[in-house]
């Protein structure tokens, strides 16, 4: 199954955060916000990934089967950003170091091959 829709990103991020049992610790909106911010950051670092839409950045609001318009090679990087963004929230179960690891991983994957 191709990893390309909003709900697949949210589901995978939940697994990495270990937030798979209801009631969830983080809402769908928070994950989708992470996805939208990831695309904003990707546009800054890699403008070549947004040529197709004249540089416009896609924006998502619902956790559904809408396809995320990003090159398949960089979908894992986007997933890591979402997880890092979730971990940034100040809660007991959150570690800043883990947030930094994921956010740095996002940048590294965007800019280097060996990451």
């Amino acid at each position: 199954m191709a990893f390309n829709t909003v709900n697949q990103f949210v589901e995978s991020a939940r697994r990495l955060v270990q937030d798979t049992v209801e009631p969830y610790r983080y809402s769908d909106e928070e994950y989708i916000e992470g996805l939208n911010l990831a695309l904003l950051e990707a546009r800054r670092i890699r403008p070549d990934l947004f040529i197709r839409n004249n540089g416009d950045i896609p924006y998502y609001t619902d956790n559904d089967g809408t396809e995320v318009d990003i090159d398949p090679q960089y979908r894992v990087a986007v997933l890591y950003f979402i997880v890092g963004h979730i971990h940034l929230r100040d809660e007991e179960d959150t570690q800043d170091a883990r947030a930094s690891v994921f956010l740095n991983k996002f940048v590294a994957k965007m800019q280097t091959v060996m990451s």
């Binding site: 004249n54 090159d71 091959v113």
Partner: protein, 198 residues
């Protein structure tokens, strides 16, 4: 099929530089092709133009591509003096004496596709891409590797491929001037001619 030729170029580059996006390659491919055609005069078009004594200016509209350089204007085998200051606009230096037909030869380059269109390839004669795909691969590799802060950024490799690209353009220009005829002009000035003092 010209699409197959372009796809071969993109696949070759895709394999050699991991992490590259197809849209970025297609964008740069147009720039590479434009530089290659602008500097080599490989893609040419001959067009007969009916002229009259009253008029000095005529437009040249090739079926594909965009005129960049006026290579030759003849009338019944004789050279006619003309210019093309604005690409695509032929200007005769002197009016002709009677209505006749001039044969104009222009060098062409590719036209820019609409902004944001990533699903089409530039229009160009198939044989140009087929014959010079190796040169175009080098040009594309050089341009991609010279981009800043990308997984495939490599100044060293960019310089290497750019040098190969420029050598390819120089060879193509000579081949085009000889109409792809092997051994058309083997004589050249002695190499010390330019610096020798009397």
């Amino acid at each position: 099929m010209i699409e197959d030729q372009f796809e071969h170029i993109l696949t070759t580059v895709r394999v050699r530089i991991p992490g590259v996006s197809d849209d970025a390659m297609k964008l740069e491919l147009i720039n590479v092709l434009d530089e290659f055609l602008q500097d080599s005069n490989v893609w040419r078009h001959e067009k007969p133009i009916p002229v009259t004594p009253e008029k000095l200016t005529y437009s040249i509209v090739p079926p594909l591509g965009h005129p960049i350089r006026l290579l030759n204007v003849t009338s019944e085998g004789r050279h006619v003096v003309a210019t093309m200051e604005e690409p695509g606009v032929l200007v005769l230096t002197q009016p002709v004496e009677e209505p006749t037909e001039l044969l104009c030869e222009v060098a062409l380059t590719v036209e820019l596709p609409p902004v944001g269109s990533c699903d089409t390839y530039p229009d160009c004669d198939n044989w140009v891409i087929e014959k010079y795909k190796g040169v175009l691969v080098d040009g594309l590799l050089a341009r991609m590797m010279s981009q800043l802060a990308k997984p495939y950024t490599s100044e060293r490799h960019a310089i290497y491929h750019f040098r190969r690209f420029r050598n390819g353009i120089a060879k193509a220009r000579v081949e085009a001037s000889h109409k792809n005829l092997f051994g058309a002009q083997t004589w050249r000035y002695p190499q010390t001619f330019a610096t020798r003092r009397k």
